[in-house]
């Protein structure tokens, strides 16, 4: 990966042409979302419950932010609180006896939190602000949620347990921050992402 980057960069330098990350690409199999050289398939993570993202996001067409409520209003996108799962599932009789749902109710009955594993875990000194990205690209630019979230998280709607599909390296962040983005659907003024250390490093 680094070699490729090196090659691209030195070539770009010599030719005097700018390196730009390419636009959003939707869908596709895991790991094939972009061709910017930043794909990095993370390990398969064993979760306490094999949460079927495809069922919720694709089959049922639920918006990501229905569960990940923090994404639009805070730094953390938030693993949904347990009563949120229960809130729906206690009324869905059809799947109540499925093993995964049973397991969920076991946790709920014990009033224990489910120990999910972090999949997209940035270094501790990085502060990624979900709110800003969602506000800009989802609410103001009015792009589809699967595209906005999928730019970093990949095509989660086609996954069961989430898996990291991007390197999430600093260069990858910068490659997008460098580009000019429209302010909103109506405001054609463009601006690039913030470029100072303290925006992301705490």
């Amino acid at each position: 990966m680094i070699h490729r980057l090196l090659a691209v960069l030195s070539l770009a330098f010599l030719c005097g042409s700018a390196v730009n990350a390419e636009p959003f690409v939707q869908g596709g199999p895991i790991g094939s979302q972009t061709s910017d050289g930043y794909n990095a398939l993370g390990p398969v993570v064993q979760q306490p419950i094999d949460f079927p993202h495809y069922r919720h996001a694709k089959d049922m067409g639920i918006n990501c932010m229905y569960c990940h409520t923090g994404a639009r209003r805070g730094y953390v996108s938030v693993i949904p609180r347990e009563d949120k799962c229960i809130g729906c599932h206690q009324n869905i009789e059809s799947v109540k006896d499925k093993p995964r749902i049973k397991k969920l109710f076991e946790y709920w009955d014990k009033k224990e939190p489910i120990p999910w594993k972090k999949v997209n875990d940035l270094p501790d000194f990085v502060r990624f602000n979900h709110e800003r990205h969602i506000q800009r690209f989802y609410f103001r630019q009015d792009r589809p949620v699967r595209e906005v979230c999928g730019y970093c998280h990949g095509d989660v709607a086609n996954m069961t347990v989430d898996r990291r599909v991007k390197s999430l390296s600093m260069g990858w962040c910068v490659s997008c921050h460098e580009k000019d983005h429209k302010e909103s659907v109506t405001n054609m003024k463009t601006s690039h992402g913030p470029n100072e250390c303290w925006q992301c490093h705490k």
Binding site: L9, A12, F13, C15, G16, S17, A18, V19, R73, P123, D124, F125, R127, N129, E131, R132, Q135, K189, S191, P194, N195, E196, C197, W198, Q199, H201, K202
Partner: protein
């Protein structure tokens, strides 16, 4: 990285900072310029700001031995000076000076860091990126105010015996040995406030966010705000005190109290101090 980029933006890249209009409400990046004003007349020297800073910014308690060796980590310190012309007794009391990073516009520390761990933000702060720092300490050597503090020891493993580490602020990195740190104007609060404001399609309101020292200060000697906004208290104070951010020599009336420390070295600090007043007839 391209020659076209170089040629197209050459004049921008050659702008000498600080330049007038660097912070401008009309530019998207430049909506904020955080600045401070410290009224030395009402600073009582109580050290509330120092302790607040310890609490907010995960400053380690270094202990007596290390304090003795000058390795203390207080980002804001209260200096106490006796008058030079003092007789037998300090009859006019003493002078307290809260000294924190002055967030200089032309910061001497920034240019000398070999790895660009310290640079300028769009809000006019002098940022210090701990993860980039390799610990050459050149910035501290070049800081006229000596407000940069180096982690001489591995404090994460010693300064917070359990369960003291539970107090640590998760928004602020705990610095390991070998990196430089300094006052950030509580940037974690600023960016939170900015984010909130942007979501609501507005700028940060005056007084909406304060650094820990300004918030704690019982006398309110420390004022803080966005100097770009002409309606903010801080902008009015700077204007009233006839201190211009972009000037290295202020031309002001002698009845006005505002000044910046060590202005003759031309660092263009973002902290304005207001002179201590003493009733000469008392």
């Amino acid at each position: 990285m391209s020659i076209t980029n170089l040629l197209n933006n050459w004049s921008f890249y050659r702008n000498k900072r600080p330049y007038r209009g660097q912070y401008d409400l009309n530019r998207q990046y430049g909506e904020y310029k955080w600045a401070m004003a410290v009224d030395l007349d009402i600073c009582t020297g109580c050290n509330a700001c120092t302790t607040a800073c310890y609490a907010e910014n995960n400053l380690p308690v270094v202990g007596k031995h290390r304090f003795e060796h000058g390795q203390v980590m207080h980002w804001i310190r209260i200096e106490r000076y006796w008058d030079e012309k003092m007789g037998e007794f300090p009859e006019q009391g003493t002078s307290f000076l809260p000294m924190m990073c002055q967030q200089c516009e032309a910061a001497p520390c920034e240019t000398v860091c070999p790895v660009a761990a310290t640079s300028h933000t769009n809000d006019g702060l002098n940022s210090q990126n701990y993860h980039r720092c390799i610990g050459s300490r050149y910035c501290s050597a070049n800081c006229p105010f000596k407000v940069r503090y180096f982690n001489w020891w591995n404090y994460p493993s010693t300064a917070w015996p359990a369960p003291l580490e539970d107090q640590l602020n998760p928004d602020v990195t705990v610095r390991t040995k070998g990196v430089m740190e300094k006052c950030t104007f509580c940037v974690q609060r600023l960016s939170e406030a900015k984010s909130r404001a942007r979501t609501e399609y507005r700028l940060v309101r005056d007084g909406e966010v304060l650094p820990a020292c300004a918030q704690a200060c019982p006398t309110g000697a420390i004022s803080f705000g966005n100097i770009v906004d002409p309606e903010s208290k801080i902008a009015k104070m700077w204007k009233n005190q006839q201190v211009d951010l972009y000037k290295d020599m202020q031309e002001k009336d002698n009845t006005v109290r505002g000044y910046r420390i060590l202005e003759d070295l031309r660092p263009f600090p973002s902290v304005m101090y207001m002179e201590r007043v003493r009733d000469a007839e008392a």
